[in-house]
């Protein structure tokens, strides 16, 4: 049931503890908008919506990365070990795993899937990455697979098989997919659940709601890997607006709410005191991996001048941005790494090396900003805008219109730049156009999060800004949209690439790269991202919180399996 006004035999809203379907169901908020193709269950095509239950209930990952500890936990996989050069990786999966139709899940399926990606076109998810890294894949025995890479990659397991942010590479059953065109296969038959290994099966799918029922014959329970999860039924419900989400959650119609603003969360908690979040007090939220940035197009004058970029940086008041755009629910960022303990170590390295003193990135100093601008030949009369050769100093900041958080901080940046005499305007664009402009370099400034990727090690985010990713304005590239070229930086990052994770040798090239980056400041980290998840404890407890931090609380990611297995009915305690 759901929002039906007490109808349909199911207990009405607020019928806490009354047993019935509601008490055995966990209802998740799905906030990605309506799913217009609920009959598409092909995880290999990019248009497929994975987080409406697919990778939380149907498909299980091989490993799950715990952001709190930095450890990777085995799930379907038992181990994934590299050789000493990180070029040959051996995957071992558990014994006794079965697909939901009873067939065995084994090395053949994995080899089949990887080969599908290797041999098919680049249009499949992860196909490009596999083609790039994997030379060959072969079955060793029923539960072991050997990956031979083209070149060393110490992050092979982390990046593709461990739910590093959001999801991971999906292994598909060979007996179902054999002979199908992987780009066109829908993998859906009305009335039947798509075949995967998870403890739930799909029972209904509509653009606004997905329902899954627990499977008694889940392999994990049979093999003793884990008992069946307690929830008998899972639902993902689309709520179009934050108000609706809060309304539903106030009414105990949602057990988990994703991505709330602080104000909404506070009013939700006022209505429904059973609601908890990661932190009991402000900022409530869990740090999200994608640091918020203010990108300046390094290919466009005057922002191609590093001093001008620094001038802009001095005009920024990050504390004010946090206070206003985030209403105090996050912290300013001084580097583009997310706020996780493993990454914090790297930022501390920069600190210790005195680089933040040399390049005082967090210093809000409007006068310095003006001084730099004036030193570039700009003049300003009174409170007007700076001009040079009759041309106004202006910048247009693009922000995606459907992403409130982003345009809110863009607006504050706009005001701050206005204050120092830069005519900054904020333009909200439809997501597709915004992204396209960014990729093609058709922008002056943009509010974005394109340094995303590193969560336990520095290389991934840093390599995004290597010179080799730079393409001319008008050509598309999803990395280094700011079009920053610096060969010293690129060289240092390449040195990190091949070192095993956690290798002490990383420190030197890392600091070298960080120094160059800070000096050039191709884009400005603004604030750390936060994801505010709210959980209703009326029916279920066991949610991930900082106090019980067995995992990050990201229920829309593929790591949700672990949380779902942790949930307990409230009244059963």
């Amino acid at each position: 049931e759901g929002e039906g006004a007490g109808g349909g035999g199911a207990p009405g809203p607020g019928g806490a503890g009354g047993g019935g379907v509601r008490a055995r169901t966990v209802v998740f908020d799905f906030h990605g908008g309506r799913v217009q193709s609920p009959d598409l269950w092909n995880p290999l095509v990019p248009g497929f919506t994975v987080n409406a239950g697919f990778h939380q209930a149907l498909m299980e990952p091989l490993f799950i990365l715990d952001y709190e500890s930095g450890e990777t936990e085995p799930w379907l996989g038992e181990s994934f070990t590299p050789d000493e050069t990180s070029t040959v990786w051996t995957l071992k999966v558990r014994d006794g795993i079965q697909w939901s139709d009873g067939e065995d899940y084994d090395a053949d399926d994995i080899v089949f899937t990887i080969n599908l990606l290797l041999k098919g076109g680049a249009e499949l998810n992860n196909a490009a990455a596999m083609k790039d890294w994997v030379k060959s894949v072969e079955k060793i025995d029923k539960t072991s697979v050997r990956f031979t890479l083209n070149r060393p990659n110490p992050r092979f397991q982390l990046d593709y098989f461990s739910v590093k942010i959001h999801g991971s590479l999906a292994i598909v059953p060979q007996h179902v997919w054999e002979g199908k065109d992987p780009a066109k296969f829908k993998n859906y038959e009305a009335g039947k659940s798509p075949v995967f290994t998870g403890p739930y099966r799909l029972t209904s799918a509509s653009p606004t709601k997905f329902t899954y029922e627990r499977r008694a014959d889940w392999w994990g329970a049979k093999t003793g890997f884990m008992p069946l999860p307690k929830p008998e039924r899972l639902e993902w419900v689309v709520s179009e607006t934050e108000d609706i989400r809060v309304a539903r959650a106030s009414d105990h119609q949602l057990d988990s709410v994703a991505d709330l603003t602080a104000g909404a969360f506070e009013s939700l908690r006022a209505r429904n005191p059973e609601v908890i979040s990661w932190l009991p007090a402000k900022p409530y939220a869990w740090p999200d991996p994608c640091t918020r940035l203010f990108s300046l197009n390094n290919a466009v004058a005057p922002w191609n001048d590093r001093e001008m970029r620094w001038a802009v940086n001095h005009a920024l008041d990050r504390d004010e941005i946090v206070r206003i755009a985030y209403e105090g629910t996050t912290t300013p960022a001084r580097f583009f790494f997310p706020d996780y303990p493993p990454m914090q170590e790297y930022v501390d390295l920069i600190e210790k090396a005195g680089l933040f003193e040399e390049f005082p990135i967090t210093r809000h100093d409007p006068d310095e900003a003006k001084r730099i601008i004036e030193s570039k030949g700009y003049t300003r009369s009174g409170e007007g805008y700076y001009t040079k050769d009759g041309k106004e100093l202006r910048i247009q900041i693009d922000a995606p219109t459907d992403f409130i958080e982003i345009w809110r901080y863009a607006e504050v940046i706009g005001e701050q730049l206005q204050r120092v005499g830069i005519n900054a305007t904020v333009r909200k664009l439809a997501g597709g156009i915004w992204g396209d402009n960014l990729n093609n370099g058709r922008f002056e400034g943009a509010a974005d999060w394109s340094a995303c990727g590193s969560v336990t090690e520095p290389w991934f985010s840093m390599q995004l800004f290597q010179s080799r990713a730079v393409v001319p304005v008008g050509k598309g590239s999803t990395s280094n949209a700011v079009r920053w070229k610096n060969d010293d930086y690129s060289r240092s990052v390449d040195q990190i690439a091949n070192l095993p994770l956690g290798d002490p040798g990383i420190e030197k090239p890392f600091l070298a790269a960080a120094r160059v980056w800070l000096r050039d400041l191709p884009f400005l980290p603004v604030a750390h991202a936060r994801k505010l998840y709210a959980f209703d404890t009326t029916y279920w407890t066991g949610w991930a919180t900082q106090k019980d931090n067995y995992l990050q609380p990201t229920l829309d990611w593929g790591n949700a399996h672990k949380i779902i297995h942790r949930l307990r009915p409230t009244n059963a305690q």
Binding site: G2, E3, G4, A5, G7, G8, R34, Q36, S37, D39, L40, N42, V45, P46, G47, F48, T49, G121, A122, E123, N126, A127, A128, A129, D132, D159, I165, K184, F185, K186, S204, S206, P207, T208, K209, T211, S239, E240, I244, A247, R248, D251, Q253, P289, F403, A430, G431, G432, I433, W434, G435, D436, N437, N439, W449, S450, C452, G453, L464, T478
Partner: protein, 336 residues
């Protein structure tokens, strides 16, 4: 048909086809003028969830090729025309391999059901209110009350919708919050299902009706005032006709003609105009689908929906032109 000459009908139908072609062509080129690219948009969407998509450059290239987006525009245009003529809208670009036809088919009944019904309701309610505002015999109490009902129109209906949600859903808990029907029921002609559709539809319908009623009422009032002085009304009164008969068959019947045109013209606007209602109430209709398609630069879905819109609007306009002489026998399409 009365008042119609064959020549007129032939010309009118020719215009009908021409308009469809012109609109369809515009809708082919307009989205392609924007910098957005459907595949890029798709990648952007994934990036906003996953942070980063590796190898997205190749991904984009591969899909562009698959969709023929790299073909010369003319080739794309011709295949577009072909697909429109055969009503085969192809695959969604953003959710490949979902078919556009299926997506539209899923959304259409809701749009027709909710939006068309409430548009017609608001037309009727507004027209009656407008008529009563202008009618001499309207009781004094109503006279005071009627203009008040128009103040709803003065509230942007997003606010109206939210206030409705707030009052009826949060506070009074009379209606379900969102969606088109209770999802534990499967669509069909069962009592429970119909009941839940009605329950879910009431608030969105109410907000549309309240918000747009005033415009109809104003237009109607204006026409009623114009009609009010006509001699035939005096004769009707002399005939001792019942006041309501006069109101409906003589006054409203004459005053409503231009309103009907407005209604028909409005039908085309229904989908585009109510994106926000659907959004606000989580209603699974075409407006929301269109909005998603636009922001995802999903050309095929956009084209599919717009083509349907074009067809409905142009057909409605054609029909009104052909039927108008029946409604208003004075109109004749004879060449002057």
């Amino acid at each position: 048909m009365r008042g119609l000459t064959t020549g007129y009908v032939v010309r009118r139908v020719g215009m009908f086809l021409f308009t469809i072609w012109a609109s369809a062509t515009l809708m082919f080129f307009i989205p392609r003028l924007a910098p957005g690219d459907p595949v890029q948009a798709m990648v952007t969407r994934i990036t906003s969830q996953a942070g980063y998509v590796e190898g997205s450059g190749q991904l984009v290239a591969a899909w562009r090729e698959r969709f023929g987006l790299d073909d010369p525009l003319l080739v794309q245009y011709l295949s577009y025309l072909r697909s429109m003529v055969t009503f085969d809208f192809g695959y969604s670009l953003s959710q490949f391999p979902a078919e556009v036809g299926t997506m539209i088919g899923r959304a259409m009944p809701w749009t027709i059901g909710l939006l068309a019904v409430s548009t017609i309701l608001s037309f009727l309610a507004g027209s009656v209110i407008g008529a009563l505002m202008a009618w001499r015999r309207t009781p004094g109490l109503l006279r005071v009350f009627l203009p008040l009902s128009l103040t709803f129109t003065a509230i942007p209906f997003y606010i109206l919708g939210i206030v409705l949600i707030y009052v009826f859903v949060f506070t009074l808990r009379l209606f379900p919050i969102s969606g088109g029907y209770r999802s534990d029921l499967s669509p069909g002609i069962s009592l429970a299902f119909v009941n839940s559709v009605v329950q879910h539809g009431t608030l969105p319908a109410l907000s549309i009706v309240l918000a747009s009623m005033g415009f109809w009422a104003l237009g109607m009032r204006g026409m009623m005032v114009t009609v009010a002085g006509e001699d035939y009304l005096t004769l009707a009164r002399a005939k001792g006709l019942r006041p309501l008969d006069i109101l409906f068959r003589y006054e409203i019947r004459n005053a409503i003609l231009p309103q009907v045109t407005a209604l028909v013209l409005g039908i085309g606007g229904i989908v585009g105009g109510t994106v926000l209602v659907e959004y606000l109430f989580g209603y699974p209709g075409m407006g929301a689908l269109l909005y998603q398609a636009i922001s995802n630069a999903d050309y095929t879905v956009m084209q599919g929906i717009v083509f349907i819109l074009i067809l409905t609007t142009v057909t409605a306009v054609l029909l009104i032109d052909l039927i108008y002489p029946l409604l208003d026998p004075r109109i004749s399409y004879e060449r002057r």
